[in-house]
Amino acid sequence: MESQNKYNFSRRNFLKTSVLASGGMLIGFNLLTACKPEAVMPVDIKSLNFNDFNAFIKISDEGYVTLFSPNPEIGQGVKTSMPMIIAEELDVAWSKVNVVQATLDTKNFQRQLAGGSQSISFGWDALRQTGATAKQMLVNAAAIKWNVDASTCKASKGIITNANGDQLGYGDVVKEAALLEVPENVKLKEAKDFTIIGQEIVNVDIDKIITGKPLFGLDYKAADMLYATVLRPPAFGQVLDSFDATEAKKVKGVIDVITIGGKVRDYINSGKNDWTFVMSETDKVVVVAKNTWAAIKGKKALSATWKQDSKLESTEDHDTILTKILEGNKFDVRREDGNIKKAFINADKVIEKTYHSPFLPHNCMEPMNFYANVSSEKVHLVGPVQTPEYAAKVVADMLNVDLDRVSVEMTRMGGGFGRRLYGDFVYEAAEISSAIKKPVKLISTREDDMTMGVYRPAIKYRIKAAIKDGKITGYHLKEAAINGNMYGLIPNFFPAGCIPNFKVETSNYKSNITTGAWRAPYTNFLAFAEQSFFDELALELNIDALQLRLDLLQNVKNTTDKRIEYSGKRMEDTIKLVKEKGNWGKVEKGVFQGFSAYYSHNTHVAEIAEIVLKEGFPIVKKVTVAVDCGVVINPTGARNQVEGGVIDGIGHAMYADFSFNKGKPKYKNFNTYRLIRMQETPKVAVHFVENNLSPTGLGEPGLPPAGGAVANAINIALGKRIYSQPFINEL
């Protein structure tokens, strides 16, 4: 098995074991060694000096294994797949494994976040080493008991067997094992010997989900907890002028009306906020009530006036500004190969196209909410957030308390899509609780959730290609985006390395509309733009669209360019798999195919979309997907991830519209903001490229190619090229 040891373990701080007072053995380990490992668990470990660890396994006297999983679950199945990896190497029966979401008493604890589809890739080596090391310790303990050589003992499904056929369960030797030295260089299993990895294992929370047990942030309750709703400025660029709470206070159940915002402002003025802190400096009016309904009604009964603080921007303004940027020459060069100027001068033909995407809200099914209890001794925060360690740090700074006193408890999340990387609602909850000195749950209505900010930014891409002697000789991509630009790795994604003269440049415009990561940031639209563009080039060159990609990839297969992020070979294999499984070019009459392929989050994906026309309108019937994500840990979970990403990609490409009029978001709820629903959902067939490489991300990479595949099919069916999302406005 190839193992990409990107994350080196220092054996000394990698793993530690101890006997638990309550019985059994506790193993603390560093799940992600890239982090500063300081965290505290809710088990009795203070005396054990276990502060160096960020994940824990408990093996009870009965042989039951509990894994305290520190990774937040937002629907990508890490809460199931991570324990599967440990259980595999530890060699216990899956039915004996129990997974508990870890509470984080945070201090410099990084990477306890679910974002960027990275959880599994970061954890792979650490999880396997941990499981294998623990198993070896148990075997060693049994060997000592039997007075035999450990190498003559075997362990499987939680039972250790020696050469005489004597058996001991893991639970029988935990106490002794915990006291042994941590062995080095344990042997990891061969992929062919995996018994848990690769099995279809259902979501560990399934029973709770189908019976309606409390799991999510909104379900969390604490004694004496109050509920709060927040009235924010209706438009970006406005701040609070005045408000009248007379009517709101008459609503039964409303306890108080206060304002917050000062603490956030102070924090911003202190300069400690970095780019991930996306909040405006306005005051906000907060209704505190005994229950949710009173809080919602109270907010409706408020009257407030707002004054303009900065420009009130409209979608038309953004359109003009981004177009102007594209036409100007103020760009940062992000990658440059060869001589792009020459390529265009010498070209037989130059093709240039511009693509446009709107802002998008995340619309997690569970609206943003958080519990905060700020008292003079401690700050307790509970809820769905993808960056607990960062949130704790900001709250500590904002409230001027020691970080040691801040604890964050994570709940299951009703969707993330990038929205819960930002803790704005956590800071609001903390500020409210600190003002009223009571435990409080901040609630957002859907209208709040959709209008309170942190959107995918609007972006325009202009792509230009030089064609000479039937070949693509030059490629020039310009990005004009709101508030930021593509992250550093993206310029080295496909087609970098495939075209000799190549340039990627970016520029942005700073808006007061808050923006942030949205499932597969940047690539969620960039892939559409580029993959539509290549489709157009293929027609121009009179080459099959799929073959064009394969031809281009030949140029990168033996590259010595270390910056190139993807593998030409793996991309080629992925495309060939989708070609076969999706019957490329072989469809019945009335069905139209479109192809797209993209690499992101370390995963190679290729898709073929099939559409039919119904009264002239395109209906997506089926999408065939090929994915190279290395070893597939949990095929059920993996397929679900990819399928969800593809449908999400199609839904947003087809329907999602969002715009601003003088700073005000145009849509507020699902009656006008259209999300894909059952009857619009295509069948999705997911196929995995089989290999033994380290597992890579799956939460995001299925999404980017989807829009392009559909747009390319629409072009075949209707002879209409789509350059903007949502498609529905173009049809």
Binding site: C364, M365, Q679
Partner: protein, 153 residues
Amino acid sequence: MLNYTLYINGKKRVVTADADTPLLWILRDELNLIGTKFGCGIAECGACTVHIDGVATRSCQMKVSFLDDVKITTIEGLSEDGKHPVQEAWKEIDVPQCGYCQAGQIMTASAFLAENKNPSKEEIREAMHGNICRCASYNRIEKAVKVAAEKMS
């Protein structure tokens, strides 16, 4: 504030509330039946679906004062042990992703199957169209409804 007597999951419950309080918030805040979820508050997403006299109903739009003499069933009361055929099918197919919408999906599906024992694929897709799943688990929902129908027949 008035007292209202509700019949929920086979039990009589008396709650004190404003007449316009939606059933959703009575369930979640007053009775601690948090399985019923809040998604939109305007009857557009289906996360809050419960059965009222067996009919799938959006509890976010159902005022507590309209609930005299009706039988309300929530996800917690759909079965005693989580073994309703729809719940079993959901588990078998491993439908949920984040899971947030699924109680509403299950309540919509179970009311639908009580009426239509042998639905076609199109009927399933139509019946479930009103429930949003932001994680897009739609194809598995369709499959699970089919499996549940088979279990029930």
